[in-house]
């Protein structure tokens, strides 16, 4: 039976006129010590967001991981607990994170506490002490976290994919082994801090209910005493993808397979980038994409498939990811290759492109409409040598891309022949059917 209601004939309302992307008021200054500070005004709530991006390429994996884990463990003037309490007093907090490109300190707090947050930030940057007992505790916590991560299918699939894509490049391994972490002692952290936690090349972003010039003054007052010469640690360019047999990573007993497909991509500034972003949306980059409509809404193979162009300092890559039921692993891969091939070989329909274009432009507006969104965007751009003005340039390129441009980008970057494919799942149950589609090489986790 069907309880379908009667189909009416109400017309879909048209969209109102587009409102132009308005860039917020901002200011920038490079301090004498080499630190660049960017301040952006968005005054809707009485808070300020803080992001400090420090170049950290080519750092020893376990030492870098431990440095991020223990950077806030105390200074010459504050214990870790005091530091957290002092930040809390102004509604603030700081956290540290690391990836193969950068060390990042992030936080937010009441705007009335900006001076205090910057003071405490300076205290950490210039005076982190890595106390032995705290380091020991944090070392065990990091080891446990790595162990938990290693039991997550998404993490294991990502690990296998990175290794497969990057080979000997520093991006290939991004999580240290527990034993490497256990070997990191406080003197090593103090040395790494002295060698690498420097203002030269670093970018501090402040976004919130601030007058940009005054925020720059506040940052200059607080952080001018942070010194140290930067050591250039350039990353080699990421290697090109090398297609080959599908890599099947065995995870016995899995009730799902994790499908990961890497395809070539270009940096944000490349002339093909906007067209590639649109091609990716049409393929699998948003819910209304061909891939999602096919393997989720038509066939029910998966819950949340998605594809994304990932930008890093040394290169960009497009990654498509889906967790699919074990019994439909090969059919899901077949449909994926079909959708990639169809887009690479045939131009998208004009209305499909318009829909993707509106989505790309709209989400730029949405991303820039909160303090936290603006701060993260500004910081990500700055880490790649760009400024917020790029938002407008990129919007103009998205608006100008034609069907031919997008078709050309799809042919150049999304062709199935270029794909590097990794599947994590129960090999005994999926290997044979995958082998009917493509050569397969199996590994254990």
């Amino acid at each position: 039976m069907s309880a379908t209601v009667e189909t009416g004939t109400r017309p879909l309302p048209a969209l109102g006129p587009n409102r132009r992307l308005k860039l917020p008021k901002q200011a920038e200054r490079t301090l004498g010590n080499g630190l660049t500070v960017i301040a952006v005004r968005r005054s809707a709530i009485p808070l300020v967001e803080l992001r400090l991006w420090m170049p950290f390429g080519r750092t020893h994996l376990a030492r870098g991981g431990m440095l991020a884990q223990t950077l806030l463990s105390g200074t010459e003037t504050h214990t870790a607990t005091q530091l957290a309490a002092e930040l809390q007093k102004v509604g603030g907090g700081l956290s540290a994170g690391i990836d193969p490109d950068r060390l990042m300190l992030s936080g937010a707090g009441l705007v009335t506490g900006l001076d205090r947050m910057l003071e405490l930030l300076a205290d950490v940057l210039t005076g982190a002490t890595y106390p032995a007992d705290w380091v020991e505790t944090e070392r065990d916590r990091l080891v446990d976290r790595i162990q938990v991560a290693q039991s997550q299918p998404a993490h294991l699939a990502r690990t296998a994919l990175l290794k497969r894509i990057y080979g000997r490049h520093p991006y290939a391994v991004q999580t240290p082994e527990p034993d490497q972490v256990r070997a990191v002692k406080p003197p090593v952290l103090r040395r790494l801090h002295a060698e690498r936690v420097h203002p030269a090349g670093a970018v501090l972003v402040l976004v919130g209910d601030v007058q940009p010039e005054r925020a720059l003054d506040a940052a200059e007052r607080a952080l001018s005493g942070w010194t140290g010469e930067g050591q250039p640690a350039e990353l080699p360019p990421a290697p090109p993808l090398e297609p080959g047999p599908l890599l099947l990573v065995d995870r016995p007993g899995s009730v799902q397979s994790s499908l990961r497909i890497a395809l070539p991509a270009v940096p944000r500034t490349h002339p093909d980038h906007a067209a590639l972003q649109l091609a990716n949306l049409v393929f699998g980059g948003y819910f209304s994409s061909r891939w999602v409509e096919n393997i989720r809404e038509d066939k029910g193979y998966t819950y949340g498939p998605h594809s994304l162009v990932e930008h890093s300092v040394a290169g960009s890559v497009l990654v498509a990811a889906a967790e699919v039921a074990t019994e439909v692993t090969a059919p899901a891969l077949l449909e994926t290759m079909y959708e990639l091939g169809r887009l690479a070989a045939l131009p998208p329909k004009p209305d499909e492109l318009e829909q993707a274009r509106q989505y790309a432009l709209g989400t730029l507006q949405l991303g820039a409409s909160t303090q936290a969104g603006l701060a993260s965007l500004t910081s990500a751009y700055a880490g790649n040598g760009l400024r917020l003005d790029f938002l407008a340039e990129h919007a103009a390129r998205l608006a100008a891309a034609t069907v031919d441009d997008v078709a050309a980008a799809a042919a150049r970057y999304l062709a199935p022949a270029l794909a590097v494919t990794v599947v994590l799942g129960d090999a005994e149950r999926v290997a044979d059917s995958l082998a009917t589609l493509t050569p397969v090489r199996t590994e254990s986790t």
């Binding site: 379908t4 009485p46 957290a84 505790t137 039991s151 709209g362």
Partner: protein, 436 residues
Amino acid sequence: MPTRRARIPATKYPVERFTLDNGLRVVLTPDRSAPVIGVAVVYDVGIRSEPEGRTGFAHLFEHLMFQGSENLEKLAHFRHVQGAGGTFNGSTHLDYTDYYETLPSNALERALFLEADRMRGPRLTEENLRNQVDVVKEEIRVNVLNRPYGGFPWLTLPPVMFDTFPNAHDGYGSFDDLESATVGDAADFFRRYYASGNAVLAVSGDVDVAEATALIERHFGDVPARPAPDRPDFAEPDLTAERRTSYTDQLAPLPAVAGAWRVPDPVTDFAGYLPYVVLAEVLTDGDASRLVERLVQRDRSVTSLGGYLGFMGDPFDVRDPTALLLQAHLPPGGDVDKVLRTVDEELDRLATDGLTEGELARTQARMATHLLRDTDAVLGRALRMAVLEQQRGEPGLLNELPRLVGEVTDEQVRAAAATLRPERRASIEVIAGGAR
């Protein structure tokens, strides 16, 4: 008396409320600082209302609401929202189900049209139902069955704490129940719970009140009137003896534990409830909090710790009965008994000795930051106001929360801590079955 404290700021989001003739309640909160809007429709039905034998149905039905409606084919809803530059989603909670989009403000009328269309009638077909049962099964696999700590503790603790089906059952649902759901069940569920009188629409962001009001009347005014069903009383007596259970998670590499205590009714006794919200933060917010300092740093008996109100983590969108939860992950071979004993000890100490100088004020300042940050996104504002309207008829409470949190006293937090006794506690232990 506390030392100098950070002044707790407040928001002044304007609030316009009205009710359409068909019973639909509407909240508008304009803010023209960015050209974006948030639109939320909240129905007063959630996991607690699904019938026995139909576990997971409220959530499955949420999926069906995206599968086409009176004037829209399957997939059209997604395409029209995203094709207008927006994003969308929906989620199923214990006490409500929400549907929402955030869009550039030139898409206001389109968003209203889309929500009104499915309020009039979703397309409930056999094909779409079977498709979404498959999708939901994959969702459960990815979030519960194929990952360590899946469903911990939001699915695993309620059956320890509660005895009645509405409070204790698995809200994601069993595969058997999901597979046996019919289109008829869905049509009944829609008729009963998706009434205009059982819903709240909230619109926030870059809108003109008069224009938005006219558009809402145009699109929702002729949704047929249906009254809200009576909401049953889900009350259960408090625990009088400790309850404790455990299970082995074959994928989990390390032990974990969660414990919970019942708290006052969040709606009818908000003043009694609020100190517990503050208490959870005093105990667990950051390195300067009581339990992190003790359990993580000093004893090293846990490696991570969280504390919150309501099984889904938002203290201001739940009704009675609910709980204050603490959850922790332990190191290899960690001793769960010892962790629970230490928690009891620290609660005792807090109840007996009270807070230290400045401890409460700094916790409140940080809570204010979190509350303000959540409302900076237009959608966060629309969703919270919709739920506050639905459960309390008081959407403007959103503006008051930072201040009210700031007015909770040392004595109230201390008294709240004193009620978290071991004999009122339900807890569940995850035994690591996946240790290497």
